[in-house]
């Protein structure tokens, strides 16, 4: 457990919860990233309000690294997956989050904050799947 960062991860989590609270109480929207992104690709006769908050929230995510780096060095993202693995992973994440109506943020954080049974089952499912696939990748193959 030498990589364990309980304090930093807890503080980061508090910030994520704060962000989700701001978004629901200010805009009335759920901070589920997969849903926000997918909503950007609904092209047919959609009102401007549908896009605006999505664009703003995603813009915030995109510039957060640059803002963070103004104050302290950005931690490195160690990505070991090959390009082809990233491609398959992205397809699975995109398709799966749409089919399951949410991801780690929408179900795992917002849904569990609301004590939603639906989100609890989704969270258990993607965690279980993640544990099994990781086990196979690291310890079997």
């Amino acid at each position: 457990m030498e990589n364990f960062t309980p304090i930093q991860s807890l503080i980061g989590g508090l910030l994520i919860g704060l962000s989700a609270s701001i978004l629901i109480l200010s805009s009335g929207k759920v901070a589920g990233i997969s849903g926000i992104v997918a909503g950007l690709m609904q092209f047919k006769n959609t009102p401007k309000e549908h896009y605006l908050w999505r664009v703003l929230f995603i813009a915030g995510l995109l510039i957060s690294s640059a803002l963070y780096a103004l104050f302290t060095p950005l931690p490195v993202s160690e990505i070991s997956a090959s390009y082809s693995t990233l491609l398959i992973a992205g397809l699975l994440v995109g398709f799966g989050t749409r089919m399951g109506s949410g991801c780690t943020s929408g179900h795992g954080i917002c849904g569990l904050s609301r004590l939603s049974l639906r989100s609890l089952l989704a969270t258990i499912s993607f965690m279980l799947s993640g544990f099994v696939v990781t086990y196979v990748l690291i310890h079997v193959i």
Binding site: L61, C103, R118, V133
Partner: protein, 139 residues
Amino acid sequence: MMKNMNTLIAGIIFGIGLILSGMTNPSKVIGFLDITGNWDPSLAFVMVGAILVGFFGFRRAEKTNTTLFNEPIHLPGKSHINKELIIGSFLFGAGWALAGFCPGPAIVALGAGYKEALIFVIAMLLGMLIHDNLYEKLK
């Protein structure tokens, strides 16, 4: 105007929270998923921290059903369970484990300039389009 500013700030805080917590590092996420190996429970602490604050935010939202700007809030249902929810979540979990990325951290890492994140995000958008425009219409 104020509302739009809040949304942008919420996105920034969300991203900084992901960076600070270590979740934009796929190897750390995989360290959490590797429960039988050198397990790193950090991701569970991120969720606990987020839910600790989110609980109060969403409780207020559900109690009043209106935003601070007096607009109605429409929250998704909590108890509708079907096979899509479970199968979709299993597919998502598999992709999450393969790359160590889920949608939020991938977008933040894309903003930081990682080309691996760009490949992942493009594939993710494609996966979403396939679901919403092909699968949904064929089934």
